[in-house]
């Protein structure tokens, strides 16, 4: 478990470098993806894969929005690396593997799981985005002419 969370921490750093994120966000991105993966691992003990993806996703999106407001950079920087561990890579692999073995039942199950997980990622980002949009509605009078 510690090794897995440590892995997620390094994923945050390496993922940010690959996407050319500014250096100052690296520690925060690593923190978001490590705590997100820790949350997922704990949810997964009691819940199904798609539900734990949803709850962990809510947590990651919420954390990303908060950190983005503190560091004052676009929230995408944290969302992308934060969700990287949750992307259904394993499901995709299982799908291809089942196909090659000719096991269409297993392939079908894997395909549904991939769709479910991807949908849950989308839903969790959407929910938190909507909450923050309602809470922090940009006021038009905020900016004045130079």
């Amino acid at each position: 478990m510690i090794l897995q969370v440590l892995g997620a921490f390094v994923v945050g750093i390496a993922g940010s470098i690959i996407l050319n994120a500014p250096k100052k966000v690296l520690p925060y991105a690593a923190m978001v993806s490590a705590t997100g993966w820790f949350a997922y691992l704990n949810f997964e003990r009691v819940l199904s894969i798609s539900m734990s993806t949803f709850y962990a996703g809510l947590f990651i999106a919420l954390f990303s929005h908060l950190v983005a407001r503190i560091v004052k950079v676009p929230v995408t920087l944290f969302l992308v690396t934060g969700f990287l561990p949750l992307v259904p890579g394993a499901g995709m692999y299982a799908l291809v593997f089942a196909f090659i073995q000719g096991d269409l039942v297993q392939a079908n199950l894997a395909f549904r799981l991939v769709l479910e997980v991807a949908g849950m990622i989308a839903l969790s980002i959407f929910v938190v985005d909507s909450i923050f949009r309602i809470l922090f509605r940009p006021s038009s009078g905020e900016f004045t002419k130079p």
Binding site: N20, T76, L77, I121, I125
Partner: protein
């Protein structure tokens, strides 16, 4: 002409952000904020994945600019930098000339090619641990990561389409992982090694941006980005399938 310069600044900001993979609503928002600093009757910005448009109507003229974005390359640092410049400008902390100048000349402190490759290797290794791998999987994933970097260098030199690039790279990692497993560590978990090595190819930014664009009502950008991530995901799946099949077809 102050108004024209404002329009040009907005266009430049929009162009850089769009080309770096920012969400359409963010591009439009940034452009609109810059445009609204002008003394104009109306101002409007419009952005899709492949282009940005802006128009500004003053007392005696209407100016419109169109910019086609042909080449896109994901660069989160550029998005953050443009965001910063437009924020400073809109809060009156820098002048229009400074903002325009900084947009034209800013150099993003990008990472060198070797750091970038090292990050790919690190990502593969850490994903192997993240997915519950042990020492054996870690070693195999690292060697496979080097193979992946080599494959990517090779395809990037050939300048092929993104689909072929991902297809080739994922074929190499699936074949390489099978090869390494049977010659070096027979009891390593193959799934872990392959999944970890295909992670650098996963279109994470395209997926996230597609979701946020679609839910914002920017269906054009959302749709094209969703299609982009599906195409890349399919090419990863095809490539992994091809690599595994190749290994099995060998006598």
């Amino acid at each position: 002409m102050d108004e024209r310069r404002i329009l040009e600044t907005a266009m430049l900001a929009g162009e850089i952000m769009s080309a770096s993979g920012a969400e359409s609503y963010r591009v439009e928002d940034t452009m609109n904020r810059i445009l609204h600093t002008a003394d104009a009757k109306s101002a409007e910005a419009f952005a899709v994945v492949t282009g940005v448009f802006a128009t500004l109507e003053t007392e005696n003229e209407v100016v419109t600019r169109v910019k086609r974005i042909a080449h896109r390359d994901i660069n989160l640092a550029k998005i953050a930098e443009v965001n910063e410049i437009s924020r400073l400008y809109c809060q009156n902390q820098i002048t229009l000339e400074t903002a325009y100048d900084r947009l034209q000349h800013f150099t993003v402190r990008s990472y060198s090619k070797s750091i970038h490759n090292l990050a790919i290797l690190l990502l593969v290794l850490s994903f192997s641990f993240l997915l519950g791998g042990g020492i054996q999987e870690g070693v195999l994933a690292s060697i496979n990561g080097v193979l992946l970097i080599g494959a990517l260098l090779l395809v990037d030199r050939a300048q092929v389409t993104p689909f072929l690039r991902t297809l080739f790279a994922s074929t190499v990692i699936a074949f390489g992982a099978s090869f390494l497993k049977s010659f070096m560590m027979k009891d390593a978990v193959l799934d872990n090694v392959i999944i970890a090595s295909m992670m650098p190819l996963v279109p994470g930014t395209a997926i996230t941006t597609a979701i946020r664009d679609t839910l914002n009502g920017d269906y054009m950008s959302g749709g094209s980005r969703a299609l982009e991530s599906v195409v890349i995901a399919v090419s990863i799946a095809l490539g992994v399938g091809a690599g595994l099949w190749l290994w099995r077809a060998l006598p």
